[in-house]
């Protein structure tokens, strides 16, 4: 059993490292912002930039949901964990952030009482992906604000 856990830990850790390695090679290209930027067409004249507004809401709400996932995992509270993962899944999918949405989907469906290590790995991966996405979104935000002010 101990060996099995060790093997799983190694496998999961390797998976994360490989994922990080391939992600860093791809750079920001893997983050598809077209779903988010297409929403700009909804902007009415004189109203705030919807894309900027959605970025602000997502970057405020996302870390709170991730923190709830971590807290729920630490408390072994499956209901709270699923609720937080479910909500983050929905907003991420609707803005086109499918990688984060997929990780949340896995967290939501995980029978984590039997998979603590997978839960830890998925939570870590979620945090990592969100941090990377945050950087890209902040760049996009800066760029849109600069264009809007021209």
């Amino acid at each position: 059993m101990q060996n099995q856990i060790t093997v799983n830990q190694v496998t999961i850790t390797r998976a994360i490292l490989e994922h990080r390695s391939s992600s860093s090679q791809i750079g920001t290209e893997e983050i598809d912002l077209s779903g988010l930027t297409s929403l700009a067409e909804l902007k009415s004249i004189g109203e705030p930039d919807l894309v900027v507004e959605l970025i602000d809401l997502y970057l405020k709400d996302g870390p709170e949901r991730i923190q709830k996932i971590k807290t729920a995992a630490a408390r072994a509270d499956a209901t709270d964990l699923r609720q937080a993962a479910h909500t983050l899944k929905g907003s991420s999918a609707s803005l086109g952030f499918h990688q984060i949405s997929e990780i949340c989907e896995q967290l939501e469906r995980l029978d984590w009482r039997d998979s603590h290590h997978r839960l830890d790995a998925l939570t870590e991966l979620l945090q990592y992906k969100f941090t990377r996405l945050r950087e890209v979104l902040l760049d996009l935000r800066r760029s849109r604000l600069a264009n809007n002010n021209r």
Binding site: L42, T87, S91
Partner: protein
Amino acid sequence: MSRERVRISNRVLIADDDPVIRCLVASVVTNEGCVAVEAKDGREAFQILQSNADFKAAVFDMSMPCLSGIDLIRYMRTEKRLQRIPVMMITAEQDLKLMSASFSAGATAFLPKTFTRELLQNALRMLLRTPTRTPVAA
């Protein structure tokens, strides 16, 4: 015989615990010339509906704290003043059984949450044009 003019509301009630989805739906609603009234969860939507029935349509998230979207629809279908309001259910769940459950409860339309702006816009247009509660799968 006098003709009574019926005022048609242009308000749309949106209930979702996710601020991102609320903002997104509200933008589309506003873009369609309607007024978005936002509720941050099922309980707040319930409180709004208790005191106000002046809505052209409603958009509910299925999974919310306190009261779910289905709970809200069931409540609305038991209140005569709310029965006429068409409701679209949105959900991040992939299970198609939920679509059936939504329609059984009295939903007019159902939209899975991985929606694009166009899909949301089209579904909302269908909903706003719905004169009666005829089920529509978006």
